[in-house]
Amino acid sequence: MDRFSALADPTRRSILELVATHGGMSTTDISSNFSMSQPAISQHLKVLRTADLLVMEKRAQQHLYTVNKDTLLEIEDWVRRMGRVWNARLDRLEEVLRKEKRTYIPKKKGRKI
């Protein structure tokens, strides 16, 4: 699964946010923050790992999850680019509205005599 599909799910976004905030967390740690079952959470963790959003490390007896900073930086960069595109588009919309406003007659105002 690609990273955006993985991120489209709100539970997975919450998991990612949780792990980003707390650093290394085990499946049990993560599950305790959610009302859904541990197997369901494990499934989400698997998706996040496949999408390179989470990294799993074996430490002693535990499997600990951390966020993949490189992937998150790439997404951040992508979001920034998307922002520029939209910003440029909205500049244009601003111009169009300025022009349209000159000839615009409001609907709900009282009738002129």
Binding site: D2, R3, F4, S5, L7, A8, R13, L16, E17, A20, L72, E74, I75, E76, W78, V79, R81, M82, G83, R84, V85, W86, N87, A88, R89, L90, D91, R92, L93, E94, E95, V96, L97, R98, E100, K101, Y104, P106, K107
Partner: protein, 158 residues
């Protein structure tokens, strides 16, 4: 610092125009055609059937101003999911690059009255991205960067 994982991508801007007019700018295809492609980009195809289930099909094409990117096309095809006049528009769409779908997204636009002005919020939730989407966007932006040395403030609420 923005947090890219908490929510979807959100942009807001306040326009000095009444809400009905901002709504019209989104739902009248003749107007959409004038602003969808930013500076240096035209929209040779712009079909906006603003009703529930109606289709939206816009093709952006890079013009002279974008130098080497000239002639590049970025089509988008989708469908309106919700139109609540004059408050909210939701549509889903697929961005296409070189005849390949690269990105599926759901875009929610809301319009709020702020005195004489209108606050518009655009939320984009990318639901699927296929390989190549990042390059396509990079190509589009490379052109714009030549033009946009000053960027008006924008807000990420993330």
């Amino acid at each position: 610092m923005m947090n890219p994982i908490h929510k979807q991508v959100v942009f807001t801007r306040v326009f000095d125009a009444p809400r009905e007019l901002v709504w019209k700018a989104w739902t009248d295809e003749k107007l959409v055609q004038q602003w969808w492609g930013p500076k240096g980009v035209t929209n040779p195809v712009c079909e906006v059937d603003a009703k529930n289930g109606g289709l939206i099909h816009i093709v952006m094409e890079a013009g002279e101003e974008l130098g080497s990117a000239k002639g590049m096309r970025w089509p988008m095809k989708g469908q309106f999911v919700e139109l609540t006049e004059p408050e909210k528009i939701v549509f889903t769409a697929i961005a296409i690059n070189n005849d390949q779908p690269i990105l599926e997204h759901t875009t929610t636009v809301t319009f709020e009255v702020q005195g004489e002005k209108t606050k518009m919020t655009v939320e984009i939730l990318v639901t699927r991205a296929l390989p190549g989407s990042e390059n396509a966007l990079a190509g589009m932006q490379a052109g714009w960067n030549q033009q946009l040395d000053k960027l008006v403030e924008f807000v990420y609420t993330m």
